[in-house]
């Protein structure tokens, strides 16, 4: 199960602030695409636009050939696009296992659904907490739980908003390994992340946003040396060099 996610010419403004200006991005089927850019460059807004959490002013979003522009978050998810949030959003007063059972079960029986949930908890390494209230998990464990329950419904495309943010280094390796495994099975990823080592080591393709516009797109080794990217990140220093 895999699919290509495309945003074409997406624009969005909040009052006088142009958050996204004619933004285009493709997350190729079966690949890991990174989305980077300075704070406030519009990465999360683009995620929200794609997943139905934010209405866009113009542009289109496609999942393979299907137009999903303006679809509700619930519909986007049921079409096979799952996402996590920058500040993790779990259900604190449900148990970890109950959290896993919230996503639609796609025609599975309750028992199969439960088994799948436990498998994914084991896969992400938090199965021993299944009966604990999710609100008692540490920040890193919440990130893993959020990744796990997004996977319950087998989404073709997974959008991760800062999966490594605020997570200790050993857990980052654990998360990276899990993403690689899932990707090897064909799943498409689109990842927003500030940790450059994480992005450059993991992603096949990287798109750079600055002030709501795409300034560069390409393989990590090209992006790393692109003067426009250095400019976006480091200000005028690239010009001085």
């Amino acid at each position: 199960m895999t699919a290509t996610l495309r945003a074409e010419g997406v624009s969005k403004s909040f009052g006088g602030l142009q958050a996204l200006a004619d933004c285009s991005l493709t997350a190729q089927a079966g690949r890991i695409t990174g989305l980077i850019g300075p704070n406030g460059s519009g990465k999360t807004t683009l995620f929200n636009a794609i997943t139905g959490y934010e209405r866009i002013d113009s542009g289109q979003v496609y999942l393979d050939e299907q137009r999903i522009t303006g679809a509700s978050p619930q519909r986007v998810f049921s079409l096979g696009v799952g996402r996590t949030f920058q500040l993790t959003r779990i259900f604190p007063r449900l148990t970890v296992l109950e959290n896993m059972l919230v996503p639609a079960n796609r025609g599975r029986s309750t028992r199969e659904h439960r088994e799948r949930a436990m498998d994914l908890l084991a896969f992400t390494g938090i199965a021993s907490h299944a009966r604990a209230l999710a609100g008692t998990l540490s920040y890193g464990q919440r990130k893993l739980l959020e990744l796990a329950y997004v996977l319950v419904a087998d989404p073709a495309v997974v959008l991760l908003d800062e999966p490594a943010g605020g997570v200790n280094p050993s857990l980052i390796h654990h998360i990276t390994d899990r993403i690689r495994e899932l990707n090897a099975a064909g799943r498409t990823f689109l990842i927003v992340e500030h940790n450059m080592e994480f992005v450059m080591g993991l992603c096949h393709q990287v798109t750079v946003l600055d002030s709501g516009s795409v300034v560069a797109s390409g393989p990590p080794e090209v992006i790393r040396t692109d003067p426009r990217v250095l400019d976006a990140y480091l200000g005028t220093e690239a010009d001085d060099a």
């Binding site: 619930q74 259900f91 449900l94 919230v102 021993s128």
Partner: protein, 354 residues
């Protein structure tokens, strides 16, 4: 996993099942043991509030959308029964057959109200439900069908006075037990899980494929159905319908206090809250010539619960009674009993010089 808080364990299920069976048995024989009409009167009203508090909890407790407008459904059911019994010339136990219809009318009213109110959340939702309440109260005071402020009288059944309250009591018991059973089923179902997910984070739930609006609306309609039936039974029991009592602003506060007191979002919480608070309030009202003192007392209790036991008595007690504390309590009890059997307390002999 030291320090990790767990959800209530399965082992408590047998215990609560046993407790429920005992409670139902006690409630079922209550009017046979306490035949005094004042006692059975307390019983009928308490069971009605038990049903309403549980019904309110099915919607508000599980979904987190706090409704202060359930009196709309209660009053709608009440007026439906009052008008229908009069127009269709029903008397005696035949009137009880109107109860499901009264519930259906209240449920029908809940659909448009829900479609409007459930678009907003938190404080805004609460304010809208209060507005609905005042619209309903004003309508009842001014419409011809409700008799306006001169009210409606209901047919009085010609049952013997000694057991007059009993049919009301057992109908109320059926509604209350049915509501608690429904509450248990929902709490354990996928539907209940979706409601609780909505309570915790509605947008996140939507992003996981939960169709929030239909889920919330279904809960509200179910809740309104039961509340409407309860209101209809209540009005038949008290025998008259006046707008200021049928649509009583204190009704919702009482119901909310019961749920909060016992434990919001739990099955047993509203049951406990209703069983303690409703008889207490009626007792105080009986002692005092005016209702102000009980209202002041209940207002104060509301503050205490919200400030110190915001999650209610049952969840707080459940957490306090950790396995460790339980063991210490048991050990303490066993040690005390062992000491008593080893050295039975000697009764002071008479005339012993001190």
């Amino acid at each position: 996993m030291a320090g990790t808080r767990h959800a209530p364990r399965l082992r408590s299920r047998t215990f609560s099942g046993l407790g429920a069976a005992v409670l139902i048995a006690v409630i079922a024989v209550f009017p046979l043991v306490f035949t005094n009409p004042t006692a059975t009167n307390f019983g009928v009203i308490t069971l009605i509030f038990l049903a309403v508090a549980s019904a309110w909890n099915i919607f508000s407790g599980f979904s987190g959308y706090l409704s202060l407008g359930h009196a709309v459904f209660y009053g709608t059911g009440a007026y439906f029964l009052a008008v229908a019994a009069k127009d269709w010339h029903l008397t005696g136990s035949a009137v009880f057959w109107l109860l499901p219809l009264a519930g259906a009318v209240a449920a029908l009213i809940a659909v448009p109200l829900g479609l409007v109110a459930l678009r907003v959340r938190r404080h805004t939702f609460v304010v809208i439900t209060i507005a609905f309440f005042f619209i309903a109260q004003l309508s009842a005071s001014n419409l011809a069908v409700t008799g306006g402020s001169s009210g409606l009288l209901l047919p009085v059944p010609n049952w013997t006075s000694a057991t007059f309250n009993n049919p009301f009591y057992y109908v109320a018991l059926i509604i209350a037990a049915g509501t608690v059973a429904l509450s248990v089923l929902i709490r354990r179902s996928r539907f209940g899980l979706q409601l609780r997910a909505i309570r915790d984070d509605e947008d996140r739930a939507a992003g996981l494929g939960v169709r929030a609006m239909p889920v919330k609306l279904t809960a509200l309609v179910l809740s309104a159905f039961i509340t409407g039936m309860a209101g209809a039974l209540w009005v038949y029991f008290i025998g008259e319908a006046f707008p200021q009592f049928v649509f009583d602003p204190l009704f919702d506060l009482a119901v909310v206090l019961m749920a909060f007191f016992g434990g919001l979002g739990t099955v047993a919480g509203p049951v406990l809250g209703a069983l303690i608070l409703e008889p207490a309030q009626m007792y105080l009202n009986l002692q005092q010539s005016n209702g102000y003192e009980s209202e002041i007392l209940f207002g104060a209790l509301f503050l205490v619960v919200i400030l110190f036991l915001p999650r209610g008595v049952l969840p707080t007690a459940g957490e306090w009674l950790t396995p460790g504390r339980m063991r210490r309590l048991r050990d303490g009890w066993l040690a005390w009993r062992a000491r008593r059997t080893a050295h039975p307390p000697v009764p002071p002999a008479e005339g012993t010089p001190s």
